[in-house]
């Protein structure tokens, strides 16, 4: 019966799994450090270092900003993605295959939907912590210029949801740790080519379409609009893209957990 329903059962208790993860995390919080420093290092090497060579970047009709201001939003979006993907792939795989955490969770009133929502929530929270901390550093470095930049925090949550949910769904297909190379193969090009380090207009028109089809492009463009204060209706497209990705990933993950563990 569960197979014919679009969304498998849950008891609305996903928060208990988040609480469990928090309890476990309190002993291993140091892993957060590397995820925080990565974008900060990029900000200083790219934004400040290379930025000195690049000069200003045109971000609208007749408006230019320093390169660091241009690149900071992209790094924030990427750190939300990285945090969410790391937790929803590596950590979830370990819990699924080795710790068998979800086998014991599903013996309680919690259902597969609770497992999916709980883990995805936890992963996006991690992305949120990274991007929030990065925003503070970027502001201190003078790369934040407008108050709408504060909206980058909920935006990062949305990016985290989109990537965590697809990341976890993908993880349910992984057979061994070797398969995680494919995750890197997807993440790295997105990080480099999603109009992260230079404007979309750099690409020829055909390639622009390809870039615009990828999720991180929408994350970068959304956060950049917010941090540069260039918000218009176009941002709704980015929000819709990422929200759809999050919703599809969450349903997909729930169904995969059900078909893997409730056989």
């Amino acid at each position: 019966m569960a197979r014919s329903l679009p969304l498998p059962a849950g008891a609305g208790m996903a928060r208990m799994l988040v609480e469990r993860n928090y309890r476990s995390f309190r002993r291993t919080w140091t892993v957060l450090v590397s995820g925080f420093f990565e974008p900060v290092f990029f900000l200083f090497s790219m934004g400040v270092g290379i930025g000195a060579l690049v000069g200003d970047v045109e971000v609208g009709v007749g408006r230019t900003v320093p390169y660091a201001v241009f690149v900071a939003p992209a790094l924030l979006a990427a750190s939300a993605m990285n945090g969410a993907v790391f937790d929803s792939t590596t950590n979830v795989f370990f819990k699924l295959k080795y710790a068998r955490l979800y086998d014991s969770v599903l013996a309680t009133p919690l259902g597969p939907r609770d497992v999916a929502v709980g883990e995805i929530t936890w992963a996006l929270l991690r992305g949120l912590v990274y991007s929030g901390a990065f925003l503070v550093v970027a502001a201190l470095a003078g790369a934040v210029t407008t108050w709408t930049a504060l909206l980058a925090v909920p935006a990062a949550t949305l990016i985290g949801w989109a990537f965590a949910s697809i990341g976890m769904a993908t993880t349910t297909y992984m057979r061994s740790w070797a398969d995680f190379d494919f995750v890197q193969l997807a993440i790295l090009p997105m990080f480099l080519f999603s109009a992260t380090f230079y404007p979309l207009s750099t690409y020829p028109p055909a390639l622009q379409w390809v870039v615009q089809a990828t999720p991180l492009y929408h994350g970068v463009a959304m956060v950049r609009d917010l941090m540069l204060g260039t918000v218009d209706q176009g941002i709704l497209v980015h929000v819709a893209y990422l929200a759809a990705m999050g919703a599809i990933g969450t349903v997909w993950t729930s169904r995969r957990i059900a078909s893997l563990l409730l056989r």
Binding site: R20, A99, S104, T108
Partner: protein
């Protein structure tokens, strides 16, 4: 006054009731149309060799595996529609410990209790009691990983009790434990039974089944091949006594003719003959009169193991 009675309120009603219960995986039929009733307060066992369908049955009862056909009611509820409500009243001790190794002993119980929606203060209170019960109180702040097999098993049981279940499901509870640890565990399970918890367990240890179970079914190839109390199963499927004879010979079949007619049934093993008979000493005397002289001759009572091997065969099942 007009309050609707809970479905499981009637003590005469079986707590678990299966009719024609089937579980298939593709072409393979793991559970083949079994009928089972488990009554409140009893200890009920599923016996069988590996691959007999015990664990598949337990998973269906635990509402983590949908039945392929037939009907299943647990506390009067249908797992297909009331899975979370049923699981809220079940305790599950899986075959393999699935403790949360990233947490401490007490945190394992706290977190598990939270999955049942218990408040933080309530899970702390219950964890203290349960760790006392599981004789793990002094290890409550230890991480799980260095605990011995017996301790982990007791912790798994303590964890399964955090929601004060009506039914405790134990899948091979003492497999892999040393004799001391098994006896400690059996003692804990007896206490639970006295407190009115219904125990449902699978095992392939006959001594465990005889120790713990009021009633049991023997499963083989997905079917139930016998059902009853340990004593009634022995009476029904074996004789009261068994005479074991060893001869100085490579093939004990050579001696079949010599013992013909002495016992109800004779079984040939590589190293001995088993003569199933109501009166072992008379059989011994008869063999003496015939001049049969085995190397050793031993009369013992029939055990559940004799029943089990008789019903499920001596061929190794993998």
């Amino acid at each position: 006054m007009a309050a609707e009675p809970l479905p499981a309120g009637d003590p005469a009603e079986p707590l678990i009731s299966a009719r024609g219960l089937v579980k298939t995986f593709g072409d393979f039929t793991a559970v083949d149309a079994i009928d089972v009733d488990v009554r409140p307060g009893e200890a009920f066992g599923f016996l069988g060799p590996n691959g007999a369908g015990k664990s598949s049955t337990m998973k269906m009862i635990g509402c983590v595996s949908p039945p392929s056909a037939g009907s299943l009611r647990i506390m009067g509820l249908d797992p297909a529609t009331h899975g979370p409500a049923i699981r809220a009243r079940l305790g599950v001790v899986p075959q393999r410990d699935t403790l949360d190794e990233e947490l401490t002993v007490e945190e394992n119980i706290w977190v598990y209790g939270r999955y049942f929606g218990l408040s933080r203060s309530e899970v702390r209170r219950r964890a203290a009691e349960l760790l006392e019960f599981a004789q793990l109180a002094e290890r409550s702040r230890s991480v799980v990983e260095p605990l011995s097999g017996g301790m982990k098993r007791r912790l798994t049981i303590a964890r399964a009790l955090v929601n004060q279940p009506r039914i405790l499901l134990l899948d091979e509870p003492t497999t892999g434990l040393d004799p001391q640890a098994r006896h400690v565990l059996w003692d804990r399970l007896f206490r639970l039974k006295r407190e009115g918890v219904t125990l449902v367990l699978t095992t392939h240890y006959m001594d465990e089944a005889e120790q713990l179970c009021d009633r049991l079914v023997v499963m083989d190839h997905g079917r139930i091949v016998a059902e009853g109390s340990p004593r009634s199963l022995i009476e029904e499927h074996s004789t009261r006594e068994v005479l074991e004879l060893r001869f100085d010979s490579d093939d004990h079949r050579e001696h079949l003719a010599a013992v013909d007619g002495v016992a109800d049934r004779v079984e040939v093993l590589p190293d001995r003959l088993l003569l199933y008979t109501a009166d072992g000493e008379s059989a011994q005397a008869e063999l003496g009169r015939r001049g049969v002289e085995p190397l050793s001759s031993l009369v013992r009572r029939s055990t559940l193991e004799d029943v089990f091997l008789h019903l499920t065969g001596r061929t190794l099942v993998d």
